[in-house]
Point group: C2
Chain length 443, copies 2
């Protein structure tokens, strides 16, 4: 379903009744002083709904799962939430009982400050693994951020900045659309950069059908003034994430902290709707758009990423085959380095297809390129045979910063898409670590 | 079983009755002239047994499988072979009917020249994918190489050089041992470098238990003067490869051409032995050693490799779990870049364990380091908790060019080993392709 969406400003505070703020409280203990934000990137964000809100969430299926993820997965089951506190600089992962205590304290502090039930406060963290939270700094930060809440665009921008780690820029979006005659808004912010190949489920449990993915933490926080029941909200979010955040890969590594949360406070005043109703489909379509745009921003701003490639597999025997084929290509070191060089190497692509779990027959495989979203495909391989396209023509097709890679296995009707990135020297350099800095031990 | 092995010279011509040679015939069409080897790396090798020989082989399980692999997989079933012709510079993969015709012609030319039945000649290729073989050059090369056969160490070295692609050095070994009172020798040469994570089976078909691996082409050619039946030889080779070539990874990409072949001509004069007899176990032990040494040479000389890490997983619930855990760690981009930096980052390792298909429980996991083969382990993590080992101590453990990474899941008794490499800027730079060189299209 195509829905007319209007892009608007203010991301997470664009929907009615939402407030946010972001502060610097030195969670990395850089030593620039508690609560000071002079010249330092913010590292603590707070998002609040003035009215009771339905909540839905999806969480990493990594078995090593951070304390904040465990807290959220439990609390989202209640169906209602009012606030989300998020820090960057420390993932609060692999931190044992103290980590769980710290996550719970973060929610309690927000609850006290805002006079909310603690179980309606959610928490997200991203950053180093295996280091306990600097709770003195966090406490001071929560005190400060709660005082600064507001709904100016700048308040949303502060939150978007505060959740960044290796991201080079904040990621935000907001759209407005009509739902049963009412004006409804959805806003969102997210962060990514490295350890990015999410495979999230509503409970964090691993369904058989989820990719055994490989992911940087990605966090996404969505707000809407739509009136929607928690069950319908969860159904819509699960669908939207399946086609966006769960279809991206930067480096194939799945994080301990991946989280997507949405709050829906109903202040738009639309009448409630059921799953699969026509109104639901309008809402779904808008949410899909918001999630996909945010997900693609994560790939574009991935660590060291120079080129973004949409891998489109068609003609697979099964959905599982389509997914396996797309992920094998999207995560192949040799394919990714060839993209970096702008090299239209089809040998590495068909090699990756061949070792994937998908059924592949050499003389059926088509491989081609197009501009993003275009159906005008320049094929390098048709039914396993090189076409007459010249090397120069193919190089021109893989030279742009973004292009689509079309693979048709010609064995069935199943399709899958992966939003992928190249592998660059800059990625290696960024991630090779700094043996002079012990704070990187778990990061 | 420990068998006393003596290292000897001459690799594949060390066993009695084997001849070899290597020539340059310009398979990459560098334009330096047919048959000339002046200043150019050799690119065509021939290995011949003077006496009838039992043969066994293992082949890539990639569904996109090169013509020479198809020819060998078929012919090895006969149990007997006399010669192997191998070229580098062109993989003869994705070359359709012409590719198959060319592989068969290569074997026929050797057969004619040496007066052998063509079905007793095997063929291997490595290099560019999707480009037809320059058969004029190959024909001239076969003519020349057949005239140069000999059993001096230099003849073996020529063959070892001729099978190299991005390898920086030839890889060779030979050992001598006693078998039922007779002196038996095994020799071998191999090549690797990139697209390395073999998952080979005796037929090239994919058993459920094989890793859905990810591999440069690796080729390995073994010779022995042991007297052994083809079935026993295949059993011994399958076992040796399972614990060597199928346990290595450079970049996680599985090639279309991976091949291991062994010829056993019986000239040592030992009495024949059955599978699982004590003599078989002696032979197995020697073959294991040869294959593991050669496999580790491939990892050490992998594209851009600076550090080699042996990933030892213990305490897994099942063998499949142990394998999945070891491969997830060995192929994680974030773990591999941290190795490159000499950074003892355990957060990335436990993250990779958590997203692997293996069952992992956070507060059971031990992670530590030792010198290669040593049992003196410095733990960074015990039962999910950081130990008192200092960052400096841990950095010292991960600073050497080679070290062992010990992971204990503490959930069972299954173990697995992967011989892995770091991911470096040099790997990316080497593989990003050259858009000014159309000959790299399938490579």
């Amino acid at each position: 379903m195509k829905v007319k969406l209007k892009s608007i400003e203010s991301s997470i505070v664009a929907p009615q009744g939402f407030l946010s703020a972001g502060v610097f409280c030195d969670i990395k203990r850089l030593g620039t002083g508690k609560g000071s934000n002079k010249g330092k990137k913010r590292d603590l964000a707070l998002i609040v709904s003035k009215a009771p809100a339905a909540v839905a969430g999806l969480f990493t299926t990594n078995q090593i799962c951070a304390a904040p993820v465990k807290v959220c997965a439990q609390r989202v089951k209640n169906g209602m939430a009012r606030a989300i506190v998020v820090n960057s600089g420390n993932a609060n992962a692999c931190t044992g009982r103290q980590g769980m205590k710290d996550s719970l304290e973060m929610t309690s502090l927000v609850a006290e400050r805002l006079h909310l039930p603690p179980e309606q406060v959610l928490v997200g963290s991203t950053g180093r693994i295996g280091v306990n939270m600097p709770m003195d700094n966090v406490r001071a930060g929560i005190e400060e951020v709660a005082q600064l809440l507001g709904n100016d665009p700048s308040h949303a921008d502060e939150a978007a900045e505060a959740i960044m780690t290796s991201d080079t820029q904040p990621k935000k979006i907001a759209v407005e659309f009509k739902l049963g005659g009412k004006t409804v808004r959805i806003g969102g912010i997210c962060k990514g950069a490295g350890m990015i190949q999410p495979g999230m489920s509503p409970t964090g449990a691993r369904p058989a059908s989820l990719p055994q993915g490989l992911h940087a933490t990605m966090l996404c926080f969505l707000t809407t003034d739509a009136s929607i029941e928690p069950k319908a909200l969860q159904a819509a979010l699960t669908e939207a994430v399946a086609n966006s955040f769960n279809r991206i890969t930067v480096d194939g590594d799945m994080s301990t902290n991946d989280t997507v949360l949405v709050l829906a406070n109903g202040l738009a005043g639309n009448s409630k709707f059921k799953v699969q109703s026509s109104k639901f489909k309008v809402f779904q379509s808008a949410l899909n758009h918001v999630c996909l745009e945010l997900a693609r921003m994560i790939v574009r701003d991935g660590e060291g990423v120079h080129r973004v490639v949409t891998v489109r597999v068609a003609g697979a025997k099964t959905i599982q085959d389509a997914d396996a084929a797309a992920r094998a290509v999207a995560n192949s070191a040799l394919v990714k380095t060839s993209w970096h060089g702008g090299d239209p190497n089809w040998g590495r692509i068909i090699d990756a297809l061949g070792y994937s779990a998908a059924t592949v027959i050499e003389d059926r495989v088509d491989i081609g390129y197009s501009s993003p979203g275009s159906s005008k495909i320049l094929y390098s391989l048709k039914r396993g045979q090189p076409t007459k396209a010249t090397f120069k023509e193919l190089c021109a097709a893989t030279a742009p910063k973004e292009f689509d890679l079309h693979i048709n296995l010609n064995l069935g009707k199943a399709i899958a898409i992966m939003y992928a990135a190249d592998l660059t020297e800059a990625y290696v350099d960024y991630n090779k670590g700094d043996v002079t800095d012990p704070t990187t031990l778990g990061g």
